[in-house]
Structure formats: structure tokens, C-alpha cells
């Protein structure tokens, strides 16, 4: 979707403000939101794609006025409500109205192995890749209402495949509970002038990772 999260190429946000390397959190609640988001995600009720879609669906005014952990908090609230695990009334009251349903709970002893294992998104492909490194490809003009990982700035532009990454779960369907429908994933390189016009820096390029259905020859 063309939500507020799709920020590439927008202007007016001011300078990038650096931060010391050791500074991870700016308040205790940020630590808790990180941990709660990961632990609740470990219940396995939603995919990473659905969680990204929930965040990109936050109304733009709220998205752009929220810190990133506040975006995560709002996203987690919305996911829990959407999946019937917590009610809006409970969120409003600030306490549980009743016991939870049976769930797969991440226990302390499982944290290290779970984080170390991660969640691989590669899948064996029955078909062969349509494109190869060196191929010229054009990204589709598409503006789906649902989730996509093709940024607006990179739609309808011509680039070159620089790597074939393998088969990967397709976010556009998986975010909406329509299954993984894996596709070949490619890294596509664009000349900056192709994306931004003649005034762009001629010595820079932008790479995106694009699923096969994002591309046409």
C-alpha cells in the first residue's frame, strides 16, 4: 500500500541526526515494547509480513509523529485485537478481562535458541528463475491497496538484475493470510538518474530486492 511508511524520496524531514553507538533505548518503555513484540510474535499467530502491513496501515499523521517503538506498540495492539487475543476494551482498561486462550508461549529458556534459529524465508522453487544476472528488467506500475514491498519510488522503472537470491516467501500474499506463494527474488540495480531524473547524482545507484511478479522484461 502507499502508506506513510513508504518514505523513499520524500523531502522535508530535515537532517539525519546521528547517535552514539551504545545508545539503544531512550526510555524503559522502549525496552519493554521491543521484548513484548518479539515474545508475542513467538506465539506464531501472525507473520512478519502481516506485522509490517499493520504498521504501514497506521494513519499517516500518527505514523509520522510516532517514534519507532511507538509504531511497534501501536502495531502490536492492532495485531492482538485483529487476532482476537486481546480486546479493545482490555487495552482501554489496561488490564485483562479474562484468561487468555491456549497459546504457544516463549519461555525464558527458549529465548536464546529461538533468536539463534531465526525464521528462514527461503523456499525451494519448483520453477526456474525467469531472469538472470545482467538482464534488464522493468518494475511494474502497481499501487495495491494491500501489502507490497516494491517502494513507490522504484515502480515503473528500468534496472539491471545484479543477483538472483533464490526463492522467498512473497509478502504481498503472505501478509494477508493467503499463504507463502514463494517467488524468485532478485536484486535489481537502478541508475539514480533513472529513478530521480537528470539532476540526480550520476555516480550513484539504488538496489532493491524485488520478487519476480514485481518485474517484467
Amino acid at each position: 500500500m502507499n502508506g506513510a511508511a513508504d518514505l523513499g524520496g520524500m523531502m522535508g524531514f530535515g537532517p539525519v541526526v546521528p547517535e552514539p553507538e551504545g545508545e539503544l533505548f531512550h526510555a524503559e518503555w522502549e525496552r519493554r515494547v521491543l521484548a513484548v513484540t518479539l515474545a508475542a510474535g513467538a506465539m506464531g499467530r501472525w507473520t512478519i509480513d502481516e506485522s509490517r502491513h499493520v504498521r504501514e496501515s497506521i494513519p499517516p499523521a500518527e505514523y509520522l509523529t510516532s517514534s519507532y517503538y511507538a509504531i511497534w506498540l501501536r502495531g502490536l495492539e492492532d495485531l492482538l485485537v485483529a487476532h482476537g487475543l486481546v480486546s479493545r476494551d482490555e487495552l482501554a482498561a489496561g488490564r485483562a478481562a479474562g484468561p487468555g486462550e491456549p497459546a504457544k508461549v516463549l519461555h525464558a529458556g527458549d529465548v536464546a535458541p529461538a533468536l539463534a534459529a531465526g525464521t528462514p524465508y527461503t523456499r525451494e522453487m519448483a520453477t526456474s528463475a525467469r531472469f538472470a544476472a545482467g538482464d534488464r528488467v522493468r518494475t511494474r506500475t502497481m499501487h495495491p491497496r494491500g501489502h507490497t514491498r516494491l517502494p513507490r519510488y522504484a515502480r515503473g522503472h528500468t534496472g539491471t538484475v545484479v543477483a538472483v537470491r533464490g526463492g522467498y516467501v512473497l509478502p504481498d500474499r503472505n501478509a494477508h493470510g493467503a499463504g507463502e506463494q514463494p517467488e524468485w527474488l532478485y536484486t535489481v540495480r537502478f541508475d539514480a538518474r533513472e529513478l530521480w531524473g537528470d539532476d540526480a547524482d550520476p555516480t550513484s545507484t539504488v538496489d532493491i530486492d524485488a520478487w519476480e511478479s514485481y518485474l517484467e522484461p
Binding site: 511508511a5 513508504d6 518514505l7 523513499g8 524520496g9 520524500m10 523531502m11 524531514f13 530535515g14 539525519v16 541526526v17 546521528p18 539503544l24 531512550h26 518503555w29 519493554r32 521491543l34 518479539l38 515474545a39 508475542a40 504501514e56 509520522l64 517514534s67 519507532y68 511507538a70 506498540l73 495492539e77 487475543l85 486481546v86 479493545r88 487495552l91 482501554a92 482498561a93 489496561g94 497459546a103 508461549v105 516463549l106 519461555h107 525464558a108 527458549d110 536464546a112 539463534a116 534459529a117 531465526g118 525464521t119 528462514p120 527461503t122 514491498r149 522504484a154 537470491r165 522467498y168 539514480a192 540526480a200 555516480t203 550513484s204 539504488v206 538496489d207 532493491i208 530486492d209 524485488a210
Partner: protein, 198 residues
């Protein structure tokens, strides 16, 4: 959300309490997650990878060819680093990593992303004006150095291998790792030269 207008702190506390009361979340697991990213998993991991690549040509080749197993050789991997790609800076080409759509970042080697990496300012601008962003961050590259921006739009996570600084021929791997900053592995900084303030 604990009443409209409720502070984010109060909402965060309420949500945690609800999840614990409902038995969805183990409080000890929360503490373990926080401890992991505050103490164990951070950019010092990536610095070890880079220092190894600087000193071991065979390792460097494995890292650039297939980064995930090469990084696993040093014991790093897992969540948000399942599918790693390493890109190497040279005098001709400088790599910079962003996630314009959210906050994708290689956690096992760099830890949690800094605030600026997730900010609208960085995400919006580095794809259209990479030299301007680098200038904001104090990095000026020769005009002859191409800049390759990598937008992490899928589950591939990018680690930049910065250039080894001059005057480091006699440093061992541990000393070299000290020079590898987090920002140098995002591409928004350079590795420190010996003696430079960290």
C-alpha cells in the same frame, strides 16, 4: 489503548500487563530478550566479522560469496540475519544500507538499529541524495567513488565491509575490530584510523 490520549509509556505498561495476565507472555522471557540485545548481540559481532575479513583472505572470499555461513563460522546468526549479504567498500565503490519501508537491519551482526536508521529523515533521503546524507554524518567521499545504496526491501540483510584504514598493517584482529564502528558497517561511516577517538 488505555483511553485515548494515554501516554505511550502507560500503553506499553498496560499491554505488557495484559499479555502476562492472559498467559501469552513469560515475564522472564522479556528480560532475557532485553538482556540479549543490550549485552550479547550488537555491532561488536559485526566488527569481528570485518576484522576477520581484513586479515584472512580465505574468510573474506567466503564472506563475500555467501555471507550467512561465513558469519556463522564466528558464531553469529539467527533472527534478522537469516539471509546475509556482505558488500565490500573499495576506493571505487561505497555501499550504504537503508530500509525505506520500515527498519530492516542485520541484527545478529549489528544489534538493534539506531534511531536515525529508522527515522523518516534517513529513510526518505538516502536513496535520493546519498552524498547529502553522508555529509550530514560527516563523511565526504571522493567524487570518483560511486555510491551504491541498498534498500532492504526483502529478507536479505546487508553488511558493509568498510575499507581497512591505512597504518594498520601491524594490528592484530582484536585491535582491528576496535576500529570497526557500527556506522562503518551500515556505510554511513568509515572505519576509524588508529588513534582516532571512538
Amino acid at each position: 489503548m488505555a483511553g485515548s490520549g494515554t501516554s505511550v509509556e502507560a500503553r506499553a505498561a498496560a499491554l505488557e500487563e495484559i499479555l502476562v495476565e492472559k498467559g501469552y507472555v513469560d515475564p522472564a522471557a522479556l528480560d532475557a530478550i532485553i538482556a540479549t540485545y543490550e549485552h550479547d548481540v550488537g555491532p561488536r559481532n559485526g566488527a569481528r566479522v570485518v576484522a576477520r575479513a581484513w586479515t584472512d583472505p580465505g574468510y573474506r572470499q567466503r564472506l563475500l560469496t555467501d555471507a550467512t555461513p561465513a558469519i556463522a563460522e564466528l558464531g553469529f546468526g539467527g533472527r534478522q540475519g537469516e539471509h546475509m549479504v556482505a558488500v565490500e567498500n573499495t576506493p571505487d565503490e561505497h555501499h550504504v544500507v537503508v530500509c525505506t519501508l520500515c527498519s530492516c537491519y542485520p541484527w545478529p551482526v549489528l544489534g538493534l538499529p539506531p534511531t536515525w536508521y529508522k527515522s523518516a529523515a534517513y529513510r526518505s533521503r538516502v536513496v535520493i541524495d546519498p552524498r547529502g546524507v553522508l555529509a550530514d554524518l560527516g563523511v565526504t567521499l571522493p567524487a570518483s567513488t560511486r555510491i551504491a545504496v541498498h534498500d532492504s526491501t526483502a529478507e536479505v540483510r546487508y553488511l558493509v565491509v568498510p575499507m581497512r584504514p591505512p597504518g594498520t598493517d601491524d594490528l592484530d584482529e582484536d585491535a582491528l575490530a576496535e576500529l570497526v564502528t557500527r556506522d562503518s558497517m551500515i556505510g554511513t561511516g568509515l572505519a576509524r584510523v588508529p588513534g582516532e577517538a571512538s
